[in-house]
């Protein structure tokens, strides 16, 4: 359990940074923006407002999940705090696991606070638009979305950890992490489009298939539509599968990160 002190310290360090409060403030500002954008919508303004609010929630979570592990790991390594940690009876793998779990704990707190902010914001949008939405059901659905965002954040944090070990530039690790997230969102659509098209060669179809199974699929976690459209449902099997997917994929990425980190000179 030598990773636990590192996880605790990483959590404390992350939530005390200005970045943490800053992200929550941005969340609030974007909710206000969502409300004003919903006012401009010609059709179902509540759904448009909720769509915007949840999309911002989704992307801010991704940004948080990329930036926290990258910044904390890079700071440790570049400022040599890692020397103080690894001079204690802590193995490199425990250090990395501690950094990862500490970042996850910070993400959980961020999502916990965001859940309240977003729920209040979404209900506020419907209230000001003077349209009825069943509050309990909406909050339940936002809660489920929050859980799926946590899983997405867990996988994305594992990749951010990996990129922090792989690259020597913090900016590069952050950019690549976010690009991976964006491509992971679109990969499923690209695959469907390519496979159904007659213009794509069999080789390219195969390549896209390989890429689809190799790269993480972040669209699995996108339950925004479920949260907004009350007629949609998510089965518990689907949720169990994305939990399993996250666990297996994150473990694999963390194992590779550990293997690399054990060979890295500090």
């Amino acid at each position: 359990m030598s990773f636990w002190p590192v996880a605790k310290l990483t959590f404390k360090e992350s939530v005390k940074e200005r970045f943490f409060i800053g992200m929550l403030l941005v969340e609030v500002l974007l909710l206000f923006l969502s409300y004003y954008l919903s006012e401009l919508a010609a059709g179902d303004s509540v759904k448009v407002g909720m769509d915007f609010a949840l999309a911002f929630y989704f992307f801010l979570t991704a940004l948080f999940a990329v930036m926290v592990p990258v910044s904390t790991l890079f700071r440790d390594i570049s400022d040599k705090f890692v020397y103080l940690i690894l001079s204690k009876p802590i193995k490199r793998e425990s250090y990395l696991a501690g950094k990862y779990f500490g970042s996850l704990m910070a993400l959980a707190l961020f999502l916990f606070a965001s859940f309240f902010i977003v729920s209040v914001g979404v209900l506020g949008i419907s209230h000001f638009a003077r349209l009825y939405v069943p509050h309990v059901i909406v909050v339940e659905r936002i809660f489920l979305l929050t859980l799926s965002l946590f899983l997405m954040g867990a996988l994305l944090s594992a990749f951010s950890t990996f990129f922090s070990i792989l690259f020597t530039s913090q900016t590069l690790a952050t950019v690549v992490g976010f690009l991976l997230f964006l491509s992971g969102l679109e990969l499923a659509s690209v695959k469907e489009l390519a496979l159904s098209s007659d213009y794509v060669s069999p080789f390219n179809k195969l390549l896209i298939k390989v890429l689809y199974y190799f790269f993480p699929n972040f669209s699995l976690y996108d339950l925004k539509a479920y949260a907004v459209h009350l007629q949609l449902s998510v089965s518990s099997l689907y949720f169990a599968l994305i939990v399993l997917y996250t666990l297996l994929y994150s473990c694999a990425v963390l194992l590779i990160s550990t293997w690399l980190f054990n060979r890295r000179e500090l």
Binding site: S2, P5, K12, F81, L84, S87, K88, P89
Partner: protein
């Protein structure tokens, strides 16, 4: 059994765009540290920090063996007996001093009921009592360094490895650290430290190693080393029955004939004071490649 033993430690780094060029920074370093204060000195780029990084397992040597208390340095369990402070250490400034001490206490599994007493004792040692609840961002650099130094003592290490512990400290801070190092030695602990403040090394160390260009040039006790570098003597004497003192500086070869001459001429010898190179002069002579007369 030596507390720390380094045998034939070699390390090279790849340089250049394609990493084609190899630069050898450690060329077979051999060291043995017992329960003593061992100073490790050398010019910038001599390999002091690289040696310490290799000892701590932060970098991987090309060749050689490092043992701490008889076990390989890669064995994490030996770190329970070791305290380490890097050069210009950094800690996340958003946490408080106590949170950092709590982190260290968590790592060593120190129970909560023992912590308060331990923290107080250590903070007293480095004269930081009363600031532990403050965020580290409000500490001066010297205070951070003293806090981290105190934290390295939390597990009561048998071996303390310090990379430039005095650098960046004001004279008060240096004196605090020096007195703690002396106290640790009295308790039978081993302290291995690098420094470029030669006066501190001369004052504190039992033995020193001089490293130049990745090679250990010399390992000796400070007193023996300085005596080997005696350049001459100041002889103070007077005529028997007179009170006024006379003095003359002579070199090593002239000393005995001069003393004999004084005796024959009826002079009383009051004092013979050796004139030696300082440790700093000795280091400079090694750097310049003169090598001295050891």
């Amino acid at each position: 059994m030596a507390v720390l033993s380094v045998r034939n430690l070699q390390k090279s780094y790849k340089k250049g765009f394609l990493k084609g060029e190899s630069v050898k920074v450690l060329k077979g370093v051999n060291l043995e540290v017992n329960r003593e204060i061992f100073g490790f000195i050398g010019p910038n780029g001599a390999g002091k920090t690289t040696t310490i990084k290799a000892i701590m397992g932060f970098i991987f040597p090309d060749h050689g063996e490092i043992r701490v208390f008889g076990k390989l340095n890669t064995d994490v369990s030996v770190k329970r007996k070791v305290g380490f402070l890097p050069e210009r250490p950094y800690v996340p400034l958003s946490i408080t001093g106590k949170e950092y001490l709590d982190f260290c206490a968590d790592v060593y599994g120190i129970p909560y009921y023992e912590r308060r007493k331990k923290y107080l004792k250590l903070l007293e040692l480095v004269e930081l009592v009363g600031v532990e609840e403050r965020k580290l961002s409000s500490y001066s650099k010297g205070m951070v360094q003293r806090l981290l130094f105190a934290a390295t003592l939390l597990n009561e290490p048998e071996l303390l490895i310090l990379d430039e512990p005095m650098s960046g400290l004001d004279p008060v801070g240096r004196s605090i650290i020096a007195s703690v190092i002396r106290k640790l030695k009295e308790e039978g602990k081993a302290v291995f430290y690098s420094s470029h403040i030669i006066q501190d090394v001369e004052r504190l160390s039992d033995r020193v190693a001089i490293i130049v260009g990745g090679e250990i040039k010399l390992v000796d006790s400070v007193s023996s080393l300085i005596s080997k570098f005696i350049t001459g003597y100041t002889v103070v004497y007077r005529k028997v029955g007179e009170s006024s003192l006379l003095s003359k500086e002579v070199n090593r070869q002239e000393l005995w004939p001069f003393l004999e001459k004084l005796r024959k001429e009826g002079y009383e010898i009051v004092e013979v004071e050796p004139k030696s190179l300082s440790l700093e002069d000795i280091l400079v002579s090694f750097i310049k490649g003169s090598g001295g007369t050891v």
